[in-house]
Assembly symmetry: C2
Homo-oligomer: 563 residues x 2
């Protein structure tokens, strides 16, 4: 079935759930009027429905290939990319000084949500560029900004981020790629990077790599990592792509999903690079890009959850039964209580994951406008949104296959692709385990004060809303679990981190449903009731696990595990 | 990493958890001595490790193809099949009168578990034959038995089951394939069947189809369905494969997984068939085959869960970190509490799912030996084992990908294939939703008496075992949920059926862990503690959902769902 851009859903969420009015009230975002936002989302939605969605299966069936060192993208990808650029979908939140629209991240989030649902493999490309633009805006020299940003915001050039090496995945500090000063202010970069999304393509005039590397004599671990900008083609004095840099795509990975998106092994052989930010402070700059990308990846989960839900509802409504099973039934499998349960769960989870991502986006925007409390709130919500959004992407795509029965296992149906494509979202930009460790580690370094403030606000708001009592009660359990975790040593925190994060997300999801129920029609209230009655109680089990810390987790020896 | 057959695990489970001694105490199974069983499992395990496991990736990469109407299987499949046959792996439980070994279904279950872990796509082939043998033993005429059974038990011929049609999936009663008497005692079968696993191959001398079809004037629905045996090649008077029957493979499906197993669209054009059982009683005969297959599919989940766990443990133990994270650590990612949590969960779920499947197998065997109470118990356990086993297959394979990080998304690693292959197990042989509806419908037709008996036994046993108090308490919650469901009308039962089944499985899983802890070493106790402390509490949320019935599930209109 065709993808349908959920414009009305965004408007409802922005207005009644995510509090976007607080963003548009900022001077900085004065141009983000309802009319402007609606016009932009509507045009982007049209591109997603008409241009990008038809490319999704094409890219899956015709993976991007490497031919004699040249990356060849699937048929139509170049045109799809161009359409995104022309509709202004790729640099919505970039600064107007360099050709961006200067609109809030929240607007970018809605557009990325749609583009990811339509064709996730292709949307990965501008997502990388968006993150790099933000990193360069914050950390690069004026010369680099002047040269690169206009060409990135225009979509003429695209971007990558290079962290991982074969021996250094989540353990970034173990990377060994070398940077040596050339004496002319540039550096020579040498090493191999893996899992580089869109490491090359055949539709942008240049590819700009941000590469983490280590200077000679730098401290060990993450405190000795610097960040370098390494273009595929070195720009000449006029900024035109010039001579080829000493780098290449060695190979592409054969992946479970995202076949259209080239996942590259990159080789840098003394490639010319420019330092971004200060020496040995590369992680800080890269985190700007990664935090942006974490919201982007949270939305990958939301995108696929939405696409999978749309497909499952359409299939169920069209799948005839011999006879109506219930009074007033449709004569389709929609009559089945278990099918209804699955579809309600898909919709309820998709709504909650999307609301959380947009809530995070609003806090990021308010933080950018100078509100430190909102920036702190965004720091807490980032790992939760990333892990919950992507888990729900996996879960909802999986339920979607189940709704289709045998058809779901057949690739032609298209819903298996959703499950394949979204699988890596729980892994890249920091695995969901890493997100949870961030939440119970760094994000509790204040002794839990910021989380307490957030939970207090949730509880107070829930108490004031219809159906809110069980949500407030679960917020209280969340607070107690938080206190228990704060009292633990780090490894115990880590043992319960993932369940804690999932329980936290359940409480937030319930709050968003309460807001929707209060502002919306009977269907909103019914979906909220479903989430609160059937899904929220899971949180108690999660908190039980969280409070156990690492107790018992090491009771099996490595040999016992292998037995 | 190579697959390792878990012979010692089977011996522990058979002895201490599944009560296999009750089976071998039956006269009927006098030959199933520990030595015989061990010898058979050991040889089968060797075949699985050395012959079948290396074929798993081969079949995934080189899917079975249809060339000019001929099915071409992956390289090595023919040899793999022959090795299984020669090791006696394909007809372990068939009656000795027709060339079977006459050993318990429980032994077949262990062998199928290993073969499925080694190469699930190929193991599907003898699984179909095993089911057909049992159906023919119970329902076919002496002439059919004498002609077909020796050739099926020898592995010279293989089998299929043909239920589904494009408009008739879970709604089997809607099928329209026609059967017309030919006047000579045979019938002409005409119609199209889909999703026919191993509808043809290039390594057995004949393929014997069991086909559900409808005689002219037969009652509507499932009460008007008859079962026919339709061979690919019609045997001559000596039983040699003779002239080709009027049937063909129209096409093969392009599937998410199980690429080596041909999933066929079969066309029957007045094909010659023989009635099996009575006219219009085909569903009863087919259910013999399906119940056998439901245990077999439960084991698909167990197989993949085991293979995924073995791979994840080996990967984690070999994935170096820069430095040990904990005192006495290994310097690998095994040091991470979250990695330990994931591996413990994989092992705890795999153990519980396997124990449930073997417990079911033992009850089936005792039922076959004449124990009506055990047969009734098997009827209850069948849908639970099928749904829980396959859900755990999906879940454990998914966690396994997560343990591998980025490597998990790369197809070369092999663990994505586990997740792809096992996905359909939750769908075929009756979706897990259908299993749950069977549990709360047909299996509660006695007002819940049989389930009460089972739950009472669980509670009493748990109370007597160390760590058993929370298990006994949850059994009490299960009983209360059962009573609540029995009091509901059918559609309300169906609304809570899947959560009820999953909660039921959690209680059973906990009991098996208690038995293991009581009989085993400290590692068994630690795994039991993990399951009881961290996973069992989920059941409470499941029972909460179950008790809600269908409340609220229809509050969204079809338009609301599509909005």
């Amino acid at each position: 079935m065709p993808y349908r851009a959920p414009i009305a859903e965004f408007e409802f969420l922005l207005t009644h759930v995510a509090g976007f009015d607080r963003v548009s009230a900022q001077d900085r975002y004065a141009e983000a009027t309802p009319d402007t936002v609606r016009a932009l989302l509507t045009e982007a939605g049209r591109i997603c429905e008409e241009v990008l969605a038809p490319l999704n299966k094409v890219g899956d069936r015709n993976p991007t290939r490497l031919e004699n060192g040249v990356v060849r993208t699937p048929p139509g990808y170049a045109e799809g990319y161009r359409a995104m650029v022309e509709a202004g979908m790729t640099a919505i939140s970039a600064h107007p000084d360099h050709g961006g629209l200067g609109l809030p991240i929240t607007v970018t989030a809605c557009v990325n949500d749609m583009a990811g649902a339509a064709c996730l493999a292709l949307q990965m490309n501008p997502l990388m560029t968006q993150g790099q633009i933000e990193a360069l805006e914050h950390h690069a020299s004026e010369a680099i900004k002047a040269l690169y940003l206009p060409r990135l915001t225009s979509g003429d050039w695209s971007s990558t981020m290079n962290l991982t090496e074969p021996q250094a995945g989540s353990d970034v500090g173990a990377l060994t790629t070398k940077a040596e000063p050339s004496g002319d202010g540039t550096y020579r970069i040498t090493g191999q990077k893996i899992y580089i999304s869109w490491g090359d393509n055949d539709f942008t005039g240049n590819v700009v790599h941000l590469v983490l590397a280590r200077l000679e004599g730098a401290p060990k671990g993450t405190k000795g990592i610097s960040l370098f900008l390494v273009p595929k083609l070195i720009p000449d004095a006029q900024g035109n792509p010039g001579v080829a840099n000493s780098l290449k795509v060695v190979s592409l990975e054969h992946k479970l999903g995202l076949h259209g998106s080239p996942t590259c092994v990159m080789q840098y052989d003394g490639a010319t690079g420019w330092l971004v930010g200060e020496e040995n402070r590369g992680m800080a700059a890269m985190f700007t890009m990664m935090n942006n990308a974490r919201l982007g990846v949270a939305l990958h989960g939301v995108s696929i959850a939405d696409a999978a839900t749309q497909a499952a509802v359409a299939y169920a409504a069209g799948r005839k039964q011999g006879q109506p099973l219930i009074a007033g039934g449709t004569g389709t499998i929609l009559d089945h209580a278990d099918v209804r349960r699955m579809l309600m769960e898909m919709k309820a989870e998709t709504f909650a994951a999307r609301a959380l991502a947009l809530d995070l986006a609003v806090s990021i925007d308010l933080g950018h406008a100078g509100d430190a409390a909102e920036a702190a709130r965004a720091a807490i919500l980032t790992p939760i949104a990333k892990a919950y959004g992507t888990e729900m992407g996996l879960k909802v795509a999986n339920i979607g296959i189940q709704v289709h029965g045998g058809m779901g296992f057949i690739e032609d149906t298209g819903v298996a692709q959703f499950a394949r494509d979204v699988r890596v979202a729980a892994i890249y930009e920091g695995t969901n385990g890493i997100q949870a460790m961030d939440l119970v580690g760094r994000k509790m370094a204040d002794g839990g004060a910021a989380i307490h403030a957030l939970v207090d606000a949730v509880e107070a708001e829930a108490q004031a809303l219809a159906m809110g009592a069980p949500v407030a009660a679960m917020a209280d359990s969340l607070r107690a679990a938080t206190d228990a975790i704060v009292a633990m040593d780090l490894n115990d925190r880590f043992g319960g981190a993932v369940p804690y994060l999932m329980g936290f997300a359940r409480v937030l999801g319930a709050l968003y449903h309460l807001r929707a129920a209060a502002a919306g029609d009977g269907a909103r209230a019914a979906l909220a009731r479903f989430y609160i009655d059937r899904l929220l109680p899971e949180a108690q089990g999660f908190f039980t696990q969280a409070r156990l810390g690492a107790a018992g987790l090491y009771d099996l020896s490595p040999d016992d595990l292998a037995a």
